[in-house]
Symmetry: none
Subunit: 117 residues, 2 copies
C-alpha cells in the first residue's frame, strides 16, 4: 500500500513511462494498444505498466484477456503537493542567501571558520 514518494518519482523519472501517462491522459487503453507506438517489446511495456501501477499512477483492470489501463492521478497529486511546497518557500530562501552573503562579508565564523581575506 501507500505508494511512497520514492516510487512515484522513480516512476516519473523514465521518459517512456511519462509518455505512457500522456497516452492514457487521452483515453483508457489495453496493454497492447499502449505498447503500439513504442519501439520496444510488449514485455518491456508490461513492465513499465507494472511500475506505474505499483506507484499508484495508473490502475489496471482485467476484462477477459484484455487488461485495461487507466490514469489514476492520486499519487501524482501527492507528489505535486510535495513539490509545490518548495516554490512557496522561495522568498524565504532568498533571504537566507542574503544572510549568507552578509555572513561572508563580515567574516563571521558562526557555522564554519570561513574567514575571507
Amino acid at each position: 500500500m501507500a505508494h511512497t514518494l520514492d516510487t512515484v518519482f522513480q516512476a516519473l523519472a523514465d521518459p517512456t513511462r511519462r509518455r505512457i501517462l500522456t497516452l492514457l491522459l487521452e483515453d483508457d487503453m489495453a496493454v497492447t494498444d499502449v505498447a503500439e507506438p513504442f519501439e520496444m517489446s510488449l514485455a518491456a511495456i508490461s513492465k513499465h505498466l507494472g511500475v506505474l501501477t505499483r506507484a499508484g499512477l495508473i490502475q489496471q483492470e482485467r476484462h477477459g484477456r484484455v487488461v485495461w489501463c487507466k490514469l489514476d492521478p492520486d499519487a501524482l497529486r501527492e507528489a505535486s503537493v510535495w513539490m509545490q511546497g518548495f516554490g512557496q518557500f522561495e522568498p524565504v530562501n532568498l533571504e537566507a542567501f542574503e544572510l549568507f552573503l552578509e555572513r561572508e562579508l563580515s567574516g563571521n565564523t558562526s557555522t564554519e571558520d570561513a574567514k575571507n581575506t
Copy 2:
C-alpha cells in the same frame, strides 16, 4: 536546459535527497553541515549533492574551502508544470504540504534513525 525531467524526477526519487532539500529549505548550508544529520559518509552526501546540482534543484558555490548549497526551485517548478498537465487536481494547499513535511521530518523514512546516541 541542462536538467531534463528525467534528471529532476530521478533526483527526487531518493529519500535522502528529498530530506536534503527540506534541510536547505530552512537555510543555506555547507556540505559538512548538510551531511551532519545523516548516518552515511560525507562522500555519499557529496554525491547526492552532485545529483541535486546536476538536476538543477540546488546550486553550489565555493567560498574558500567551504561549498555552500542553496535551494534552486527552478527545476522543481519545471517538473511541477509538467505534472499539472495531468489533470485538474485540486489546487495545492499549503496545509497539506506542511503536514507532509512534518511527517517526513518526524516519522522519517526509517532508513535511518539513532541520530543521537
